[in-house]
């Protein structure tokens, strides 16, 4: 049953919508429009000379092999961050859900990393794995594993993924735990009485009921991996070695804010915007259909 509200006047709905529209307009459409305009321009750092260059910025990106390579890097990075972040958090949430004694303590500890700023989290991991002073590097070296994220691109990728996942687990954990709590105990007890073992109960009852939460977190984590991780990458590897950990958003940050190439960075953010719109469409048209809302 759908409820519908009818407005007699024409202006009232617009008035009620106005604050929301203003916020969206100022904080989304305006900057997005600016990015579009800037992507067609070439300007010096101070903005004193601005020339229209048409699609030159996009052409330059298309011809830049390292830019095309960063698509692959981004896909690998985002997939790893999302899959690892979700599965580890789910595992922890399932365990925490069963803990009876000291549950609050465990939960608080698990939520702590979320309070750490991305760049601090990056520095923390960079220190632990530093080639000359890192404790983890030292320990790994003792057991015969030569860790060197400065030269080994797999190590570098592993490092940024660990730092990014560690930071995001708390958030995922909170939602999974809340999701698990909202599943009626009676369902699980009934299954237990029928003789279902814990693994089977989790697989056939809890996980399907968590689907809406998982879908929501999937979207959030993808967005996180795409947009919020440049500080972590900057603090740990700066996109190196070579361009092995330079994701799309790290390039936008570096070229725009460090290199002051505003036209190029704007073109890159337009590309990113298109990708995210496409992703959102796919997620909500196809993935969401598989999600059962209770």
């Amino acid at each position: 049953m759908e409820k519908r509200v009818f407005f007699r006047s024409n202006w009232l709905p617009w008035l009620l919508l106005a604050p929301q529209l203003a916020v969206v307009g100022i904080f989304f459409f305006w900057p997005a429009g600016q990015a579009l305009v800037q992507s067609l321009q070439q300007q010096d750092a101070f903005g004193t000379s601005v020339t229209w260059v048409g699609l030159d910025n996009f052409k330059a990106l298309w011809n830049d092999a390292t830019y095309l390579a960063s698509f692959q890097t981004t896909v690998i990075f985002s997939a790893l961050v999302t899959v690892l972040g979700l599965s580890i958090a789910l595992l922890l949430a399932v365990f925490a859900d069963r803990v009876v004694k000291g549950a609050t303590f465990y939960k608080t500890i698990l939520i702590l990393p979320y309070a750490v700023a991305p760049v601090v989290s990056g520095l923390l991991w960079a220190f632990m794995f530093s080639s000359s002073i890192g404790v983890v590097t030292y320990a790994l070296h003792k057991i015969g594993f030569d860790w060197n994220h400065l030269l080994n691109s797999n190590h570098a990728m592993a490092l940024v993924v660990m730092a990014a996942v560690w930071k995001q687990i708390s958030y995922n954990f909170l939602f999974f735990l809340a999701g698990l709590n909202s599943i009626p105990k009676a369902l699980i007890e009934a299954a237990a009485i029928d003789g279902a073992r814990p693994w089977r109960r989790f697989w056939t009852i809890q996980l399907p009921l968590l689907a809406p939460t998982t879908f929501f977190l999937l979207v959030i984590n993808m967005v996180y991996a795409f947009f919020d991780t440049f500080a972590i990458i900057d603090a740990t590897t700066q996109g190196g070695p070579g361009k092995a950990t330079s994701t799309l958003v790290y390039r936008v940050y570096f070229d725009g804010f460090r290199g002051m190439d505003f036209g190029g960075a704007a073109a890159q953010s337009v590309v990113l915007m298109v990708i995210v719109i496409a992703l959102t469409v796919v997620q909500f048209r196809y993935v969401e259909k598989k999600v059962q809302y209770a």
Binding site: Q42, Q43, D44, A45, F46, G47, T48, S49, T51, V53, A60, D64, T66, S131, S132, I133, L150, L151, N152, S153, Q238, G239, G240, P241, G242, K243, F254, D255, F257, R258, G259, M260, D261, G263, G264
Partner: protein, 437 residues
């Protein structure tokens, strides 16, 4: 950092409350990137200047690392809220210089302020870096450093090398590294600032071009040239050293310095500005020496390249502010202030008078090695060694980092990596040229 800033803010507020004069002084905003001990130095400079007169008040503000404070300054300029003085690192020189109308050349500021100003009193490698093609000095040299060679005397002694004699040529460096390795060193040689030390400084030290048009000094149409046979030879040499474990890559920017300070790496090329930190933290005997070179290259060694930063005056301020800036700059360039700064920070004395004053005071005798950077810099510069002035330089340096890393990982040969860095960098130069036509 936040703590320091809060403390500074409190200090500033308290100071302002106590120092409310009958007649308000003209305030001069100075944004800079000096943190830690260097922040104290900058604050002392401003304090002493403010105490020396009552008309102007210089207010220094820390705005983050070099690239951050530069970005902040540019953003502020776009919002019509720029500081009077902005400290910009040497890499940003071309960006500042070609920014039409955003800055006021320092020569102009000094002339209008009625202050005596002689660009010739500066060490030529320093003043040349900040001088426009028409001979006008654009910014005020402030903290200049250069690349030098450090080595661990204790490690040298243990390996049977003469601790009083640093290797002067690259072949000697290789030999010394081999001996250190045989003696058990896991990192005989390393370098920080791969791009600054091993490409830019390497070029001027051997008097070969880094880029055409006198490394960009001659105009915007300069293109990179650091894939010459000599550059390739140098990186092949480093690649061979890397393969044999004689050279160990320790990361970008200044990351390698901690590996030298910890004693892990025995020989190290780094900034002369690191001297104070190494002296404070290293638990071994060390010495500072001139950079190695290839003896068969004619003209080598020439002079090393400048690093550090200079002070730029932003445009569009009231005339009174410019008068104050001129007074402040004239205070900064006095030999006494210069010499004291040089001895306190390890940065170069940027005028000859300050160098002579420091020499006379016996500072170099008491602190052996501190004269090395000066001697490397005050040699006569040539058109190829005056410095490098290129647009989009921050990104070009990042490209050089990325490409040379491929050499140490074995993915590319020295020639392939340098060729690729040159062609990628040239695209950025073409872009900068188009944007600043």
């Amino acid at each position: 950092m936040t703590f320091t800033r809060t403390a500074l803010a409190i200090a500033a507020v308290t100071a302002a409350a106590f120092a409310l004069p009958a007649q308000a002084a003209t305030e001069i905003q100075w944004w800079h990137s000096m943190d830690g001990a260097l922040n104290d130095w900058v604050n002392d400079l401003a304090k002493d200047f403010n105490a020396s007169q009552s008309e102007y008040k210089v207010i220094p503000t820390y705005k983050g690392e070099y690239d951050q404070s530069m970005a902040a300054g540019i953003a502020a300029y776009r919002a019509n809220n720029a500081p009077d003085i902005l400290q910009v690192f040497e890499v940003g020189t071309a960006t500042m210089m070609y920014s039409k109308g955003a800055i006021k050349p320092v020569a102009e500021v000094m002339k209008e302020g009625g202050v005596k100003f002689d660009p010739k009193s500066y060490i030529s490698a320093v003043s040349g870096y900040y001088t426009a093609p028409n001979g006008q000095m654009m910014s005020m040299p402030f903290n200049s450093s250069t690349t030098v060679f450090y080595y661990n005397k204790d490690a040298f002694k243990a390996a049977g090398l003469d601790p009083e004699k640093a290797p002067t040529s690259w072949p000697e460096v290789v030999l010394a590294a081999a001996k250190l390795k045989t003696n058990g060193s896991t990192c005989p040689f390393t370098t920080s600032w791969m791009t600054w030390a091993q490409v830019e400084s390497f070029s001027t030290w051997h008097n070969v071009s880094y880029a055409s048009k006198f490394n960009g000094f001659g105009g915007l149409d300069a293109r990179l040239e650091f894939n010459s046979p000599l550059h390739v030879r140098h990186f092949e040499n480093l690649a061979n050293m890397s393969k044999q474990g004689l050279f160990v890559y320790k990361g970008r920017a200044g990351k390698a310095s901690s590996s030298f300070i910890s004693g892990e790496c025995a020989m190290f090329v780094g900034s002369s500005g690191s001297y104070a930190t190494i002296k404070r933290d290293a638990k071994f005997q060390f010495a500072e020496s001139t950079l190695p070179y290839y003896p068969d290259v004619p003209g080598a060694p020439q002079n090393t390249i400048l690093g550090g930063a200079s002070l730029w005056v932003m445009s569009g301020k009231p005339a009174a502010n410019y008068k104050g800036v001129a007074q402040f700059f004239s205070y900064l360039s006095s030999p006494q202030v210069q010499a004291a700064s040089h001895q306190r920070t390890g940065y170069l004395p940027i005028t000859m008078a300050a160098f002579e004053l420091t020499e006379k005071s016996g500072f170099y005798k008491k602190n052996p090695g501190t004269e090395v950077p000066v001697n490397q810099m005050i040699r006569k510069t040539t058109d190829k060694s005056r410095g490098v002035r290129l647009g989009n330089f921050v990104q070009i340096r990042a490209i050089v980092d990325e490409e040379t890393e491929q050499i140490w990982t074995g993915k590319k040969t020295a020639k392939e990596a340098l060729d690729s860095a040159v062609s990628r960098g040239n695209e950025l130069l073409a872009k900068f040229q188009a944007a600043n036509k």
